[in-house]
Amino acid sequence: MLDQFFFYIFASVILLGGLLTITRRSAVHSAIFLIATLLGIAGLFLHLQAEFLAGVQVILYVGGIMVLFLFVIMLVNLDQAARQRQFNRQWWLALLAAAAVCGEALYGLYRGRGAFTFPGAVPGNMPPNTQAVGNALYQNYMLPFEVASIMLLVAMVGAVVMAKKRL
């Protein structure tokens, strides 16, 4: 009961935030509603007892990625874009296509509705989430973890090479 209450709260925050993100005229407003959406997703993770993921969601997406978004908004001049018409003439066609896809997805979900249940509280003995992640990451998946550092290195070099004028 309480589970469902929180699920619907978070789900409506996510949906409302998403809708407002794509309909606002000012890019900064969109970014703020995107933050609300991402926080809602963090809440949903928490609701699924994925505490580590919820923390990562807040630290990385809300704290990191959104900073990048805001910097991009500041880098490019969006005044012109804000004054232009927001939707072109094909919006109703796009809406129709989106509604069709949505209908298909809803139908599929409705057919398989039996499989969706709230996990509920696992009785005792489950190791805390972060510990489980730590065990998996640093024992079973050691190599992918080290490869991740090389990926970060590539991202770092790539960012500097692209954005810096003279190396």
Partner: protein, 118 residues
Amino acid sequence: MPGNYIPILVFLVLAFAFPVVALSLAALVRPSAQSGERLTPYECGIQPVSDSRGRYTVRFYIIAMLFVIFDVETVFLYPWAVQYKALKVFGLVEMLVFLAILLVGYVWLYKKGALEWV
């Protein structure tokens, strides 16, 4: 376990409620003067010459991007720190290798002057 998050919930509710209550209370008592006069600088102020929302230099973006990358690195440190005792020396060496690879990138950045402002 969900009980642990009640303080956060209370905090969130307060954080959202405070501006709403404060702004709506203020709207009740303040006079509403929506004239163009209100938006101009005071009589001795300097007239603005251009839009205050200009474009920023791309250097900020480099710093922001590097921040995100080191942010990801930090996220990896959390589960490691939690399991530090259980992983023993193996975990320490593992993390040192991870940090060493990223340190190479940091030294490269430093040598290339990507962190210098001018």
